[in-house]
């Protein structure tokens, strides 16, 4: 029996108040995600239950109970309060998947400050852009990442505290730096949690668009209402589950469903702080007897590539529910998982902006391989005519996925960018930027993006950001960045480049530019191919026509070229 039950019944009887009641929340009362993740679970009698099983790449293992989570998050919250961090200030988490990342997130929310998790593989420029935009006051990081922070520190006057969680005293601390040992500090039994309310900001996650710099998606503490009930119904999390969300908390899946939802539900979750390897992943599932596994298409396709034989070496019989997020899950991957695990991966669709799953294949319902599934109860989703932003009245038409705003975890704004936020709405619909069609049974089928944003391994990369960075390479005169198809990552970044006089195309120059972008922005943003060209296609007004380059990469019709400069 699933938590979800019957779709039609759930839709008919749904109200977000149902989730509020289960959480014991009444409108107007205080609501703090940090308290829900730890103190409340302890008060429900689960203080000794394991909250987090953490394993590092060397095999080192740490186990934290819900009481540990409560005490350590109190300790972190008190540490921040003692530093003078006030409610509303932004506190960044820039770390690998270490316990301090998960527990620190909970601790930050207890202070009323806004948590700003950032992917630890970001290069210094990507880090700088996001810290500067958020005017971040403090950053938690590790020794291995401190040099990136040091390179940009002087340009960040708002950054008052650089906190190193694994400082070993081997090299001297520098300006604004301080050590903090979560497990070495005196545990704080009582911490006065800041009185946050439904609309108090909680988290900022940065996401990329076609134009402009990355945007800070701002969520509020009330988002918990959506995250809790979607995790319970879609991930089917139950009290005795061992849950593994493979997403990094630098991205929204890793916080909504890697911290907030599982901890609020009081389930045991495990984390593997290690790079990908099929054997290591299967071994981790076997060892921890994982029951619910939330992963991503890129990882699933990488497992497929590793072959069926390796699966047979492990006992994976504990697995009972599988789900996926990040990019469309191809039918082959669903069918493969049925063959090797005896159960399908359930595709879930949502975005940083939506804060929670909005369209999904539900447990207990037939999975249509390749389909995104159906809207979550309480979510009004449709496919809009791109010309007038009206829903198509009949199924089968391809249009823009639109969502009726109003669910609890919908973003409240883009940080310091209200104009970009307003631009996301038309005719009363939130525009996701994705295109799809709906079949006669109400299942959504993903078609593609409606813009030039590149979805690589489930992460959005802005072509504009990569193009801007490319221009800083001494050899690059002009650049255009598009996606190209990739069997594992769905899309990867490809750059077209014209060179300045005195530079000639070569394999070594291509590698040099690739590494330049990798270090400056991130490995995700690194072009996996650079094509040196004599000129780029432009409109007569001089605007680069990415559309033409994109069409060539994807083998599509180039379309109207009447505005092309050289036509």
């Amino acid at each position: 029996m699933t938590n979800f039950g019957n779709y039609e019944e759930r839709v008919k009887n749904f109200s977000w108040a149902l989730s509020e009641q289960e959480l014991g929340y009444k409108p107007g009362q205080r609501i703090n995600i940090g308290w829900y993740c730890s103190d409340r679970v302890c008060q429900l009698g689960k203080a000794k239950k394991v909250a987090l099983i953490w394993e590092g790449f060397t095999g080192e293992k740490k186990i934290f109970t819900y009481d540990d989570l409560r005490l350590y998050s109190n300790t972190i919250a008190q540490f921040l309060t003692d530093l003078g961090i006030k409610a509303g200030e932004r506190v960044c988490l820039f770390m690998d998947r270490v316990p301090e990342l998960y527990i620190g997130f909970v601790g930050i929310l207890k202070t009323g400050a806004i948590a700003q998790p950032l992917f630890s593989a970001f290069g210094e420029e990507s880090l700088f852009i996001r810290l500067e935009n958020a005017q971040t006051s403090a950053i938690f990081t590790q020794k291995k990442h401190i040099s990136k922070v040091r390179k940009i520190r002087d340009r960040l006057p708002h950054l008052k505290h650089i906190i190193i969680v694994d400082y070993d005293g081997k090299s001297p601390l520098q300006e604004r730096e301080g050590p903090f040992s979560m497990e070495g500090s005196k545990k704080v039994e009582h911490y006065e949690i800041y009185p946050t309310y439904a609309e108090t900001p909680s988290v900022i996650h940065y996401t990329s668009g076609t134009t402009g710099m990355p945007k800070g998606v701002q969520h509020v503490h009330y988002s918990l209402i959506s995250q809790y009930i979607t995790a319970k119904w879609v991930l089917d999390l139950k009290d005795d589950d061992i849950y593994w969300c493979t997403a990094d908390p630098g991205w929204v899946t890793g916080t909504s469903y890697g911290i907030i939802a599982p901890f609020t539900l009081g389930v045991t979750q495990c984390v593997l702080d290690s790079g990908f390897s099929a054997e290591a992943w299967y071994k981790f599932i076997e060892k921890n007897k994982v029951t619910v596994w939330y992963s991503a298409p890129t990882a699933i396709r990488s497992l497929m590539k590793a072959g069926d034989e390796v699966v047979k070496k492990f006992d994976l019989s504990s697995l009972r529910h599988l789900a996926s997020v990040g990019e469309p899950l191809n039918p082959e991957a669903v069918n493969w998982s049925i063959r090797v695990f005896g159960k399908p991966f359930h595709d879930t669709y949502w975005q940083t902006e939506t804060g929670c799953i909005v369209i999904t294949n539900f447990p207990g319902m037939p999975v249509k391989p390749g389909s995104m599934g159906r809207p979550f109860p309480g979510i009004t989703a449709t496919v809009l005519n791109p010309n007038n932003y009206e829903p198509y009245p009949e199924p089968g038409r391809i249009g823009l996925i639109g969502l009726k705003p109003g669910w609890p975890s919908m973003m409240r704004t883009y940080w310091n960018n209200e104009e970009a936020y307003k631009n996301k709405f038309r005719n009363g619909w939130y525009l996701t930027g994705d295109r799809a069609r709906i079949d006669r049974e109400g299942y959504f089928w993903f078609v593609g993006r409606d813009d030039d944003v590149i979805n690589t391994a489930g992460h959005l990369v802005s072509p504009f950001e990569v193009e801007s960075a490319l221009l800083e390479h001494p050899s690059v005169a002009e650049s255009a960045v598009v996606s190209k198809p990739d069997p594992i990552n769905m899309e990867v970044v490809k750059a077209f480049v014209t060179l300045k006089p005195g530079f000639s195309p070569s394999k070594d120059l291509e590698l040099d530019i690739m590494n330049f972008i990798r270090k400056k922005l991130s490995p995700l943003a690194m072009p996996q191919e650079i094509e040196f060209v004599a000129s780029l296609p432009k409109t007569r007004s001089g605007k680069i026509m990415r559309r033409i380059l994109h069409a060539k990469e994807w083998g599509e019709e180039i379309g109207d070229t009447s505005t092309l400069e050289n036509e």
Partner: protein, 82 residues
């Protein structure tokens, strides 16, 4: 000293490690240890292909095959006499 392994190790140190990082040896886990991720592996593969004028097929370029200097050297030696 094995020249091939030294070249690979030095490239990893210069390109993927931050200053003040822990030293690595030929057996340090690179992929599982989070030093080189799956995206960065593309640039490491490209370096080896350029340097030794070889083509490493995608099916051979697995996270396991790139997980240490020793394993990478073993892979490269399948394609070139170094």
């Amino acid at each position: 000293m094995d020249e091939l392994k030294e070249i690979i190790k030095n490239y990893v140190i210069n390109e993927y490690l931050e200053p003040d990082s822990e030293p690595i040896d030929y057996d340090t886990p690179l992929i599982s240890g989070g030093i080189v991720d799956s995206f960065s592996m593309v640039s490491l593969k490209r370096f080896l292909e350029n340097k030794y004028n070889i083509q490493i097929p995608d099916e051979k370029a697995t996270p396991e095959a790139f997980d240490s200097v020793n394993k990478i050297a073993e892979l490269v030696r399948q394609f070139v006499k170094v």
